[in-house]
């Protein structure tokens, strides 16, 4: 339907622009607030344009951190978050793609039983099983380690299910052609299945990275060592830093820094993702 009505055009664009402004306003506020001195933010009106303290604020955050919040430099927290998010992402993708491969392509006893067991865990998010998980991680001695941050979050029913559905759409003839071409199970997986799953992996990477990056409750429980704090925890600690007033310029600066990696991942992977969609097979 191609319509050309100037008033309607104007109206739809106005609505769109308004929506964009509405969505972007908090980000804009965080960005501008992070460039002011703390005093400027404690009195009204709150400035809506850049201040002069950007360099000072960010260098303080990246090198020294906030004394009130433990004094861990944000760079360290960002690194922790990155390790955790990437660990969770790669771990989840690796485990779930292999689990789906087993369920779809191999005949073993209780195959469907295993599938349903995985599927049922969809209904149990981290928060529900957090106490037993904590218990297990403690007994394994993984508290206060990257392993403890990552491993409990790796199993993913959602990703397994997604890969299973995708594998089921791959025609049987392709598997048979590979068998005739002397590709064993490992060869088939690496040479055929992985390249075909590329777009699914890219999509999952985006979702899982953001999921991992935004983890809050689990890192809060699993770490007491300040050197392992993640950036999401860091923000929270700054806001609740004891008796003092929250230092909004630093908090907003941290939030802006914490935004960067997910944005980079989305922008970088989205290209591949869209390319994959366009190239998808008939």
């Amino acid at each position: 339907m191609v319509e050309n009505r100037p008033i309607l055009n104007f109206l739809t664009h106005a609505v769109l622009i308004l929506g964009v402004l509405f969505l972007c306003f908090p980000v804009w506020m965080a960005l501008t607030a992070s460039t002011h001195a703390p005093e400027a933010l404690s009195k009204s009106p709150i400035p809506l344009w850049f201040g002069t303290q950007a360099w000072k604020n960010y260098s303080q955050l990246l090198t020294a951190g906030l004394p009130e919040a433990g004094g861990v430099p944000i760079g360290r927290m960002m690194l922790n978050s990155l390790v955790m998010a990437l660990g969770i992402t790669f771990g989840k993708i690796a485990v779930s793609i292999l689990a789906a491969y087993a369920i779809v392509y191999f005949r073993f006893p209780f195959r469907m039983g295993f599938f349903w067991m995985i599927f049922v865990t969809l209904m149990l998010p981290v928060e529900v099983r957090i106490l037993p998980t904590f218990d297990v991680v403690t007994k394994l001695g993984l508290l206060n380690s990257y392993g403890g941050l990552i491993v409990p979050l790796i199993a993913s029913a959602t990703a397994t299910f997604l890969f299973r559905q995708f594998f089921l759409t791959i025609p049987d003839e392709l598997v048979e052609a590979a068998r005739i071409d002397r590709a064993g199970p490992v060869r088939f997986f690496i040479d055929i299945l992985l390249p075909l799953s590329r777009t699914n992996i890219a999509a999952l990477f985006i979702i899982l990275f953001i999921y991992g990056w935004n983890q809050y409750l689990w890192p809060l429980l699993a770490t007491t060592d300040e050197g392992l704090y993640t950036v999401v925890m860091g923000i929270q600690r700054m806001v609740n830093a004891g008796e003092q007033l929250p230092v909004w310029n630093y908090i907003m600066g941290t939030a802006v820094l914490a935004l960067i990696p997910p944005v980079v991942v989305v922008v970088a992977m989205q290209k591949l993702f869209v390319k994959g969609l366009v190239e998808s097979e008939k």
């Binding site: 048979e176 052609a177 590979a178 005739i180 055929i192 190239e279």
Partner: protein
């Protein structure tokens, strides 16, 4: 290049469904064998058992005298071309053809030489670096054939390779396949449901019905001496006319319930009163000029095909359909009655109950 021996092959699925049973055939070196039959007759199952994609639950399969029942598809030295091409979508044409050879561990220069040769044979040279999705259906199927050729297998297996192509391309690729077979001199086993494909390609045809072999023979064997009513009706287009009646008291005529008897000049090989089906191919019926023929046809409609005309109708007074193929352009009004005759050697008699051919006609 190899002999293939199918010894009472059978396939019963775990659920108890039998897809094929007691299929025996001796396939010679360099032979072009076509397995043909209606869908669900077990022809694809047989091919997949030869390929090793389907386990063999009864009987024995040997290639060049060696039992291969329990070998993996990759170990049987066969190559297969699938109906939907089954090309690896993320690999270029070259990579698609290379893949099996690389897995075999063939040296790089030999791989390159084989691909160059196959690409030349199949006129795919300019497409080697394209992905399958950038090719047309016919080109994709040629790539699939190329992937089979470079393997230099003992046996080529084709599973309805032309079914996804349009009619014109199918005819063209059919000719290419025939040439390819002559050039390679390899053993081909080819599955199709299309009897025209079977007739035009095969050295010998294995015609199957409901999981069993109906007849094995050259196309002309099947056409001229079908072993059963099923074969008779499956081969040939339009399909063979079947007139069901009983053998008359004189044992040399066929009587019908609602139509005049047809007399033969010879004795029929079954007792009087025996129910039989008389088969006559539409192209074997001729118009009797001006006289009374053996069989009458009440015209219902005609099909003008240019080279010849197919007249459809029924035996007057009965519901038995009858078709005749007449040479050239012919015009007959609906309702007209055509007197027809057929030479004795072109009559086929089948037992109405068992469907088997009655001997000595």
């Amino acid at each position: 290049m190899a002999n293939l021996h199918l010894n009472a092959l059978g396939k019963t699925y775990p659920g108890g469904v039998t897809a094929a049973s007691d299929v025996s055939a001796e396939i010679g070196d360099g032979e072009f064998i076509v397995l043909v039959g209606p869908s669900g007759c077990g022809k694809s199952t047989i091919l997949r058992m030869i390929a090793g994609l389907e386990s063999i639950t009864a009987g024995e399969l040997t290639i060049d005298g060696a039992r291969v029942n329990d070998l993996e598809p990759g170990e049987r030295d066969i190559a297969m071309v699938f109906q939907n091409y089954a090309l690896y979508p993320h690999m270029t044409v070259r990579k698609n053809m290379e893949y099996g050879l690389r897995n075999e561990g063939l040296p790089k220069d030999q791989i390159a030489a084989r691909i160059a040769e196959a690409a030349r044979t199949l006129r795919l040279e300019e497409y080697l670096d394209r992905k399958p999705r950038q090719l047309s259906g016919g080109q994709r199927q040629r790539v699939a054939m190329g992937r089979a050729i470079v393997r230099k297998p003992k046996v080529f297996l084709f599973d309805e390779p032309l079914s996804n192509l349009d009619a014109k391309l199918r005819t063209q690729l059919r000719a290419e396949l025939k040439t390819l077979h002559q050039r390679l001199g390899a053993t081909f086993v080819y599955v199709t449901h299309d009897q025209v494909e079977a007739m035009s390609l095969a050295d010998r045809i294995i015609i199957m019905n409901a999981g069993r072999v109906e007849q094995i023979g050259t196309p002309m064997d099947l056409y001229l001496r079908p072993a059963s009513r099923f074969v008779a009706e499956f081969i040939g287009s339009p399909s063979m006319n079947m007139l069901e009646g009983r053998i008359g008291a004189d044992r040399s005529s066929l009587t019908f319930d609602h139509a005049p008897a047809i007399g033969f000049g010879f004795e029929l090989p079954a007792p009087a009163g025996h129910p039989i089906a008389l088969g006559i191919r539409p192209e074997h019926l001729e118009l009797t000029p001006g006289g009374a023929g053996g069989i009458d046809l009440a015209v219902q409609f005609i099909e003008q095909l240019g080279a010849d005309t197919v007249v459809h109708g029924a035996v007057p007074g009965s519901a038995m359909p009858l078709a005749v193929r007449l040479a050239g352009v012919q015009l007959h009004e609906a309702g007209a009655v055509l007197p027809l005759t057929c030479a004795a050697e072109n009559l086929h008699l089948f037992d109405a109950k068992t469907g088997r051919r009655l001997a000595a006609v």
